[in-house]
């Protein structure tokens, strides 16, 4: 294409000319070659993929109830005009327990007020989350999983919005039933879809990992808050009906006094069972030491505590066993937990000697993983039993879910977020807390620690990791003292 006169040009110029030539050739010559599609459709002709392009990528999913031609305008007239203009109420634990009344006694009026507050608050909060999703790039939210989450959020929004005002205690009774169905219904499917959506976006590089991390965390925090608000209302409603007219603890019956040691030992035996299940019964287990303030008792959500300790400890156990096998040691290195308490917080330091965290696994603390890890995680999600057959659209369209598939992520790190904090009472959830955390290793989703971080931060805490390569890892779980932070606007993490 370009003739180089070598006579009149120096060697360097020839070289440059050659480079220029080859560059410009690759620049334009690629358009003269038959486009190569085998990467996208390895076994079939690309023309067989063609008919799927519009149905899978257009903005209005075939089965959607809300996302259609009219959605944009309806959203503008209702959600934007009437609900985005309202701000969610930041609520402290103390306020939530007392409902703007200094006495702890439960009265009829207080229950009704609480019901109306919950209705108004949830619809506002969900509207803001919907708006957050709406402002993300189209290809992120239009993802197969994300748009189901969007659909279900909209469904919740619409159902709460249309729910009539609560005037009597009987109204509240019905409302409690309604809350109960919403909590135990399809809502629970949001979580795996949310995470799978994030993973798919990560694999396709559609959104920066740190930002995606923030999106998921904020949706999870909002979810914890929503659940607490609902559960608190269910709890006091239940207490009122059972004749218990006094709110004795901080918040309904959700919080209880927890013994640090007991919870740690519980987590330990759970981990040991897990390890034995993974390898074989009788395999040597690491020694487990607890020091520091071993007699510590503190007020917390038992379920959250159990989950947090279990997840963090399980990680140390797994790593310790791997190192034990890899190095062919006499016995596994010990795991030591130090309990520290101070005025504002409770700290658990878990020290293992499992060789530290390999560099490429640093993202285990985040939802925004490396693409490779995201791929692994997603493929494990795809293996979850039942997940293939369920769709949020079915429940939104009122078809309901069959029993066998209503809880596809049993035994995974997603389970506890769906478990109820209500120990008993009228509105007790049917689902028992099935072998929490005792999931099989084949469902390793790789997001357990990322979830822990959200939970720890929710309770004014942190989750920090210090890795000493070639030696071990210290994991520090810090939880805020709820009694110290009662005045803090805990539930503002909308």
């Amino acid at each position: 294409m370009y003739k180089v006169k070598s006579k009149s040009t120096s060697g360097l110029k020839v070289k440059l000319a050659h480079r220029w030539k080859s560059q410009s050739q690759t620049q334009s010559s690629h358009i003269s070659q038959i486009p190569e599609f085998s990467k996208y459709s390895p076994t079939k002709s690309i023309s067989e993929l063609a008919p799927y392009v519009s149905p899978t990528l257009c903005a209005y999913p075939l089965r959607s109830k809300y996302v259609n031609q009219q959605h944009y305008y309806q959203n503008q007239n209702i959600l934007e005009k009437h609900y985005l203009t309202k701000k969610p109420h930041p609520v402290s634990l103390m306020q939530l327990a007392q409902y703007f009344d200094d006495s702890t006694a439960l009265t009829k009026q207080k229950i009704v007020n609480s019901g109306n507050f919950v209705k108004q608050e949830l619809v506002t909060r969900i509207a803001h989350k919907i708006h957050m999703l709406q402002m993300l790039p189209f290809d992120v939210v239009n993802n197969f999983h994300f748009c189901q989450v969007y659909e279900s959020y909209y469904n919740i929004f619409e159902r709460f919005r249309r729910y009539p005002a609560i005037k009597t205690i009987e109204d509240n009774e019905k409302f409690a039933e309604f809350l109960h169905t919403i909590l135990s219904d399809f809502n629970s499917l949001n979580l795996p879809h949310l995470i799978m959506g994030a993973l798919e976006c990560r694999i396709l590089d559609l959104y920066p990992p740190e930002k995606m991390d923030e999106v998921i965390s904020s949706l999870l925090r909002a979810r914890i808050s929503r659940r607490l608000i609902v559960e608190e209302h269910l709890s006091i409603t239940s207490n009122y009906h059972s004749g218990k007219k006094e709110n004795t603890l901080v918040l309904g019956d959700i919080f209880q006094e927890c013994s640090a040691k007991e919870f740690l030992l519980g987590a330990k035996s759970m981990c040991e069972r897990f390890i034995q299940d993974m390898y074989f019964k009788g395999i040597k287990l690491p020694a487990f030491n607890i020091d520091g303030n071993t007699e510590l008792k503190f007020l917390f959500l038992p379920l959250h505590l159990k989950y947090l300790l279990g997840e963090v400890l399980r990680n140390s156990y797994e790593a310790t066993m791997l190192e034990y096998i890899r190095l062919g040691l006499q016995e596994p290195e010990p795991i030591t937990v130090t309990i520290v308490s101070n005025e504002s917080s409770f700290i658990f330091r878990i020290s293992d000697r499992a060789g530290g965290i390999p560099h490429d696994e640093k993202t285990i603390w985040s939802f925004g993983k490396s693409k490779e890890l995201a791929r692994q995680s997603l493929s494990n999600f795809h293996k979850l039993p039942g997940l293939q057959t369920i769709s949020l659209y079915d429940s939104v369209n009122g078809k309901g879910l069959t029993r066998s598939v209503d809880h596809p992520y049993k035994y995974t790190s997603l389970e506890p977020i769906n478990a109820s904090n209500l120990p008993s009472g009228l509105h007790k959830f049917e689902k028992p807390l099935l072998g929490l955390l005792e999931r099989s290793s084949r469902y390793k989703l790789g997001i357990g620690l990322a979830m822990c971080k959200v939970y720890a931060e929710y309770w004014n805490g942190t989750l920090t990791v210090h890795s000493i390569p070639g030696y071990g890892t210290d994991t520090i779980l810090k939880l805020g003292n709820l009694m110290y932070h009662t005045g803090k606007l805990q539930l503002d993490k909308v």
């Binding site: 334009s28 038959i34 008919p51 392009v53 990528l57 075939l62 959203n75 709406q134 790039p137």
Partner: protein, 413 residues
């Protein structure tokens, strides 16, 4: 001939266009019906696809779009347009098909990525979603070519490209309406950036398809054209043709027609793409005519004063100056001349940017108050190294300078 794919045909040509378009319309309605039935069967089809398989399809499609959007697109050049001369050998037709398909794929994917980067709620707007769907359909059509053997089938290619041009004919109206609706929450600059690239890509895509269709159907090399490129266009003839069309428009609106005087260059010929130049001339002469008529007062009587056109060729450069006496452009609008002016139709006309200076009723140029005209002119001219300059003498008149770069003469041999 100039008006082959242009919306700006004179009266006689318009009738012609209707007769030509008729069979296409019938065909199109068939296609719509067909796509409706495929839509319902698609529903069934999607249900049959397994969870994992669906995931692969979804992510591979996304990946394909991303990859093709990233490929560098060589700028459209006269070299490209003139690489094959009539009559084309089978081999040349084949290569041209591959090139056209490749380029259209890249442009389509690039547009899709741009649309998909908009906020979710923006694309849920039915007007914008329609554009999204249109490009998805174009991608579908390009992917269903039955590679590689299908590329030899001229009939299929011709049909597909004709469909493509038809599908993309009146889409700007919808898109601009959509953007107007989302302006409340979407920054103006981002809209302009999007529209700028969108219009440019769209022009290039249409040109590619038109060029292909013209070139492969051309039988003899006696004609003075190579596809869309005219080897030796008599510029004054084009000006006269546009004058007639603009005159019609003005007659409808003002019951008055404006004379145009060619001061210089009555005989000048120049190699260029007539439809592009036609668009630009129409746009500018429309603005000038309107200014002459609307600002006419008994003292100056500009309504009777001719617009002056000067045509000068220097080797490979062509300059056309269009001089009017319509009072110029107010300073506060001058800066925004090449913006897409957003205004509601009922707002004060003097305050709504260039749209106020455009004759209403012309869909593409004035879409619900949005002026696409001048930005489009710029896009057309800049594609082949030309330019459009507007010089306003506020209180007197406006000079528009159209500059064209022609292909080097050896390309036309």
């Amino acid at each position: 001939m100039f008006a082959r794919h242009s919306q700006l045909a004179g009266r006689g040509l318009k009738q012609l266009a209707i007769t030509v378009k008729l069979p296409r319309l019938i065909f199109h309605s068939c296609a719509t019906r067909q796509s409706y039935s495929t839509k319902t069967s698609m529903r069934e089809k999607l249900k049959e696809v397994g969870f994992e398989e669906l995931y692969r399809i979804r992510s591979n499609t996304q990946l394909l779009i991303q990859d093709f959007a990233k490929k560098p697109i060589p700028p459209l050049s006269y070299e490209f347009l003139t690489q094959y001369k009539v009559p084309l050998t089978e081999n040349q037709k084949y290569t041209l098909t591959i090139q056209t398909v490749n380029l259209l794929l890249m442009y389509t994917c690039r547009r899709l990525v741009a649309i998909q980067r908009l906020p979710y709620i923006a694309v849920l707007n039915p007007n914008i979603e329609q554009t999204n769907r249109l490009y998805l359909r174009t991608l579908e059509s390009l992917l269903s070519l039955n590679y590689p053997y299908g590329l030899h089938d001229q009939g299929v290619m011709t049909k597909k490209l004709t469909e493509f041009l038809d599908d993309h004919q009146d889409t700007l109206v919808t898109l601009s309406r959509g953007f107007q609706e989302i302006m409340d929450f979407f920054p103006k600059e981002a809209v302009f950036d999007f529209l700028n690239l969108h219009l440019r890509d769209r022009i290039a895509m249409k040109l590619l398809a038109t060029h292909y269709l013209a070139l492969v159907s051309q039988k003899s090399n006696e004609e003075p054209v190579i596809g869309v490129l005219h080897k030796n266009l008599k510029i004054s003839e084009l000006v006269r043709r546009v004058e007639e069309f603009v005159g019609d428009l003005c007659f409808v609106k003002y019951d008055h027609q404006l004379p145009i005087e060619i001061l210089e260059g009555e005989d000048v010929t120049f190699p260029c793409i007539p439809t592009d130049l036609e668009y630009v001339l129409t746009e500018i002469l429309k603005n000038s005519s309107r200014a002459h008529i609307e600002n006419s007062v008994p003292e100056n009587n500009t309504a009777e004063k001719p617009i002056e056109v000067t045509i000068v060729r220097n080797d490979n450069d062509l300059k056309i100056r269009i001089r009017d006496f319509g009072g110029g452009i107010p300073p506060d609008v001058e800066d925004r001349m090449f913006d897409y002016s957003y205004s509601t139709v009922n707002s004060d006309a003097k305050d709504s940017g260039m749209s106020a200076y455009v004759i209403p009723g012309e869909d593409v140029c004035n879409v619900s108050g949005m002026g696409f005209g001048l930005p489009m002119c710029k896009a057309y001219m800049e594609m082949f190294g030309g330019s459009v300059d507007i010089q306003s003498l506020w209180g007197w008149g406006t000079d528009a300078y159209i500059c064209l770069k022609g292909p080097s003469p050896n390309l036309l041999k």
